[in-house]
Point group: C2
Chain length 510, copies 2
């Protein structure tokens, strides 16, 4: 048993790993396979392993039960079958398992704890220097963000024309001195095989895994963008076979991290070389090969994907209407009958693109509008920066004003006396959320958001029977004021300020 | 000639009047008629006169030419024909004639001076005490507003449950002590004839005329609302014959005031007792009997009227989309191919109805969005007030922050080097207006409004040939900063603030 190393004990929903020596002739990424078969009292799973270079193959597994597991390691990469066993221990503080869809339009961790998503976006943070990556983690640790979207492939776009610190495939990029928005078209595309997209660079993927683990330790979900169009290295033009190989490789490496979500693409409709049939194939591939059924979505540019497709667990949406960036979210919820996450609703910042220069007030407003419509939203920051470090692309420090207010919103969400909200119909009091399980006529809880209006008072009438605890919420100054109780027709005095909310909680003996 | 009094000389586009004694038996409002026939070198007009009580009939006429006019007074109200002549003198300072549609989507005075509408609304100001009416005029005199919307009939609505100081018809209203939003339904409707809607009260109309004259002297257009649904006195339920009588009476009395616009209804679709056929009849009646073809419109609640109708000179619109209150205005312009005035886009204030609690910033923003889409907008104020005086209903004082900024906007509009704007397609730089006569590719003038975005700089590229004078406009702080010139690709540094605009004026020898 010299050729196999594995953990004898592992915490539930953590990454169990076994390493074995195997064949390294030819191209092991393509020529050989390896699998792990796992059996406990409650589950049986077969998972794919991966070649990690230097003749080493690894199989990763995320156990869901506090039981003893037996395993076999098999495959063409090895000439024998390895067997073993390990024991799973109870999840510790902060480990609630992976996030899944719950209550149809919402999310919960595996252990039932509601997960209220307050996401952010740092597309290329894993392609930055280690120092900058550490800074990003530090900023995240002080932030409300419990989900982060980022790309596997490096990004070629505004403010981000540098090569990444390393590449996912063997090869050398054609170099251009001082890449600018203007000269990147001079890039030499003549040698389309400058990267060998059948030969992964394990170190590249290890550095991602290190950050998956760091994020996991901070209870932050990793919304991994598998494909994207902002590319000068032709990774968006790989062959179907190369794409399949890539999907198998990242699932084998990453899926055992409980905080993984699969975002099949960012702005899929900008990748005009792909057909819907191809997207369907890749989406279904992920669904079929991921042993843990992690959340899966696909993000649009101008045209929504058909989010009713079976492989899609929730809608990941970029706003397409400039003036109703999130105000249509409840309609999307009704249309697709799935959770809605508006992952891109413009970024807080001051760059010249109008998708990247909204105020902190507007960012917070968009979150509240989404949340009160029973949906979720995503943050990002694009402030001009003398060092060229923009959160939305590189990570680094947070500069905006929205993050503390989003933390306050998260607190409000966590205090909901149920699991998830929906828009009341008719809304009646600003944008009115009630509990997912409430009925519109006699809700037990109302969260009324008044957005940019600024009434001096608001009259309420819900029904004659229910007595409500009334709280006035200043969503910007982050205060909650007890306003006593109300029953039947009552009026709530307000300060005539924008961005206020009123929370009404039925005083019912439960 | 004892029985006839008239002006021997009159300024062009002012109110010439003749008074004659006539029959007063029976109901002179119904039983007799009277007309004036006017002939000058350039025009021939027959206009209807009206009974003004006490046996006196009046005919009013607005002459359009600096010529000598001959007139005959005829009709069943008198047993003879009166003849006479008068001389028209040149229009003096501030008198540019009536406003008409010009350049298809815009307005100009009779003498060709562009009229850029910055309207406001005080629905019931003429029903308030004389003291309050004077206060309103004083506030208007210090304001940018060059149009005011108001109702002829008294108004029964939120914050306005008092009887008017006088009524348009003979009769006495049923009194209710302390009218409230709740008890008004106790109003006694059993006697539907409490007012005799065939017998006008001349004093009521004289008081309106006094204000028409005052407004005219201040160069403010009077957008007179003929019908409206906010009624407890049954004026909205008059018979078709009574309505026709009313239309003839107000046209005979008011049409000679050059600043009159006819707003056939406010929220016509709330008057559910009326059919479209009836509205068409009333609209066409006004068109047919008004000798001067004053501007005519009809204002909606939830459903737009078909503004393509021939009798409608321009679209008077209440926003129906909460999140795109004015951002659809260029679409309405295209749809109806007429000038668009968004007369109701919510009011600056702090009352509990969300149509009446937007901020000054939002009011100004909505104006700029409208203007940069080649349209016009209307202001109003609804601030809670200890004395119960709200500008939008009663007039009084202005309390908001938008008025000075609208004055600044009016200055910007008056500086346009052409007549009227249109939205550039594609807009490219925020919401980009160009001159109505410009072409999208090579505009000679651009007004780029950045609304709630806040870029630190904005790159421009219009064409290679044109050199533009660049000015940075702070629409809230009301500053205009010279930023030099630009040609081809150029970038304008900006302060990273919301509500900025950039004005580009081609440096062309004309």
């Amino acid at each position: 048993m010299n050729d196999i190393k594995f953990c004898k004990t592992i915490e539930q929903w953590c990454v169990w790993e076994v390493a074995v020596n195997g064949k390294k002739e030819g191209n092991p990424y393509v020529d050989f396979n390896i699998f792990g078969e796992f059996v406990s009292k409650s589950e049986t799973k077969k998972v794919e392993g991966f070649y990690d270079g230097d003749g080493i193959y690894r199989i990763r597994f995320m156990p869901s039960y506090i039981e003893e597991y037996q395993f076999n390691i098999i495959g063409s990469a090895i000439d024998t079958t390895y067997k073993g066993a390990f024991v799973v221990t109870k999840a510790q503080n902060g480990n609630h398992g992976k996030v899944k869809v719950a209550n149809q339009f919402h999310f919960a961790y595996e252990d039932g704890t509601p997960y209220y998503s307050i996401g952010t976006t740092c597309y290329a943070w894993i392609h930055q220097s280690e120092k900058l990556q550490s800074k990003t983690l530090q900023a995240l640790s002080k932030s409300p963000f419990n989900k982060i979207r980022f790309c596997i492939f490096p990004k070629h776009y505004w403010f981000n024309y540098k090569d990444p610190i390393q590449f996912p495939y063997e090869g050398t990029p054609v170099n251009i001195e001082n890449m600018t928005p203007d000269n990147f078209k001079d890039y030499d595309y003549s040698d389309e095989n400058q990267f060998d997209c059948t030969k992964f660079v394990p170190e590249f993927f290890r550095s991602i895994e290190k950050q998956l683990q760091n994020l996991m330790d901070m209870s932050i979900e990793a919304d991994i963008i598998i494909f994207h169009p902002y590319d000068r290295w032709r990774f968006s033009y790989m062959t179907p076979e190369e794409n399949d190989l890539y999907l198998h490789y990242i699932v084998a490496r990453f899926a055992a991290y409980r905080n993984v979500w699969w975002s099949l693409a960012n702005e899929f409709d900008l990748m005009q070389n792909r057909t819907i049939e191809e997207w369907e194939h890749y989406g279904n591939t992920i669904k079929n090969i991921d042993p843990y059924d992690h959340l899966r979505s696909i993000h649009n540019w101008r045209t929504f994907y058909d989010h009713t497709k079976d492989w899609i667990t929730h809608c990941s949406i970029q706003r397409t209407d400039y003036f109703k960036p999130v105000e249509l979210s409840d309609q999307w919820r009704s249309q697709y009958q799935k959770p809605v996450v508006i992952d891109e609703l413009c970024y807080e910042g001051n760059i010249y693109g109008d998708w990247g220069n909204i105020t902190g007030e507007d960012m917070v407003r968009r979150f509240w509008q989404s949340v009160c419509r029973g949906c979720y939203a995503g943050h990002g920051e694009t402030f001009e920066n003398p060092e060229g470090i923009l959160w939305w692309s590189h990570g680094g420090d947070l500069h905006g004003e929205s993050a503390p207010r989003l933390e306050f919103l998260l607190q409000i969400m966590n205090e909901i006396p149920g699991h998830g909200l929906k828009l009341r119909t008719p809304s009646k009091f600003g944008t009115t959320a009630i509990l997912q399980e409430d009925d519109d006529e006699h809700p037990s809880f109302l969260l009324c958001y008044f957005d940019r209006t600024r009434p001096m008072r608001k009259p309420f009438y819900i029904d004659d029977e229910t007595e409500y605890q009334i709280e006035l919420i200043d969503t910007w100054d982050m205060t909650i004021t007890d306003m006593g109780t109300g029953k039947g027709k009552f009026e709530v005095p307000m300060p005539g300020k924008t961005y206020m909310a009123i929370r009404l909680t039925a005083k019912i003996e439960k």
